[in-house]
């Protein structure tokens, strides 16, 4: 999506080196066909968007750019007010990167076990980090950001990617529209199935709506990680205390497929042998997409490769 696309009206003309270029680099990511995976039956094609091509290295650049633009347009960040949100890392990097480009002060509440690579990059862009006790999990960081925003409204504007409608709209106008155009060009039709997971719910809601408008028979599969250790960026959506994102349109989901971390990383290693270096959520999506493809009921299956594998080096994921 170019920098002057609808939805980014709030971004001012460039007055700082690199500003326009950073925004212009977001979206329009490559579409790859995973035709080297043997499980895909004849007559079925599996496509994926390579979101590590975004300047922040993940799909999170899309919603964050859109939310920041809307916040600037609406005057939420006037004066010295800081943008505040919680993140497990990828959104934090996007906030920090774009905040630096736009001279917006950024404060991020992040669990202390976010990978070292993520924390390094967030700090490199100059954002303020508030680390929460990792034993209390991600939802604790989210509640802490809500508490800070409520207690200090003059200091913080809570962007809140979990309830910000601009989040899913970025995927409706961007990710979903691009999938339609790119898959249509290569396969000659809209996807018959779409596979994604839920973190904030932005991707599955936005892209899901867009793709189902084009194909009312679209089958939407939601990837569910195991409760522990979980999969970076994905919510299990099962425990009674889990926060369910306000922007998630759960009625879009036709099917849920459980994926364990070991299954996700096994796919990541296979993809790396084909030149695609991606993180565990991408592996989980492809693992589930292969199950959807194996049914033979959906000739064109689409999914997302959310981020790159470099971001997980410190976890030991690639130590073999």
């Amino acid at each position: 999506m170019p920098a002057n696309s609808p939805g980014w009206e709030g971004v001012p003309p460039s007055t700082k080196a690199g500003r326009t270029d950073v925004f212009a680099g977001i979206g329009d990511t490559p579409l790859v066909e995973l035709d080297f995976l043997d499980e895909i039956p004849d007559g079925v094609r599996l496509f994926a968007k390579l979101e590590s091509a975004n300047p922040g290295g993940s799909i999170k650049d899309r919603p964050v750019a859109r939310m920041l633009s809307a916040a600037m347009r609406d005057g939420h960040l006037d004066g010295d007010r800081r943008l505040l949100d919680s993140s497990s890392g990828n959104a934090g990097i996007a906030y920090a990167m774009l905040g630096a480009a736009l001279d917006i002060p950024v404060t991020l509440v992040v669990p202390g076990n976010a990978s070292r690579e993520r924390l390094q990059r967030i700090r490199a862009h100059g954002a303020e980090l508030i680390l929460t006790d990792p034993i209390e999990g991600y939802d604790h960081a989210l509640r802490e950001s809500q508490r800070l925003a409520a207690e200090q409204p003059e200091r913080y504007w809570h962007c809140d990617q979990y309830s910000n409608e601009e989040n899913w709209r970025a995927h409706y106008d961007g990710t979903g529209a691009e999938l339609l155009a790119q898959v249509g060009e290569v396969a000659g039709s809209a996807p018959d199935a779409f596979v994604a997971g839920v973190g904030t719910g932005g991707t599955i809601t936005g892209a899901g709506h867009r793709l189902r408008e084009a194909n009312p028979e679209l089958h939407i599969t939601c990837v569910i990680p195991d409760v522990f250790p979980g999969i970076e960026g994905l919510k299990p959506l099962g425990a009674p205390d889990d926060i369910v994102p306000a922007i998630l349109h759960e009625d879009l989901i036709d099917e849920r497929i459980d994926v364990r971390m070991e299954q996700a990383t096994a796919i990541c290693r296979r993809l790396s042998q084909a030149g695609l270096f991606v993180g565990p959520s991408s592996g989980a999506y492809v693992h589930a997409a292969l199950q959807v493809a194996a049914t033979g009921r959906y000739p064109v299956v689409a999914t997302i490769l959310s981020d790159g594998g470099e971001r997980y080096s410190s976890t030991g994921m690639w130590d073999r």
Binding site: S88, S115, E136, G137, D139, T200, F228, P229, I231
Partner: protein, 94 residues
Amino acid sequence: MSSVIVRIPTPLRGFAEGQSEIAAEGADVGAVLSAVGAAHPELLARVMKDDGQPREFVNIYLGSDNVRTLDGMDTPVGEGDVLSILPAVAGGAE
């Protein structure tokens, strides 16, 4: 044998009757976790593999040190030490 506190992360508390901490005894990290697992097998299955090593993306901390940087599950523990079970990634937001 030393008495050790094991801190339980929120996603696993449902497999430990809601407890955030469990006291257990053992001479090393592996023994302490096995003692916890004897009372809470579903918890242990999510932390350790059948070979007694931590699952992929599971870290065990002794104080502030990841036991992978010490002697792994053979790392000796002392009276009053604190073990924490943590996922290697923060999770939560896509």
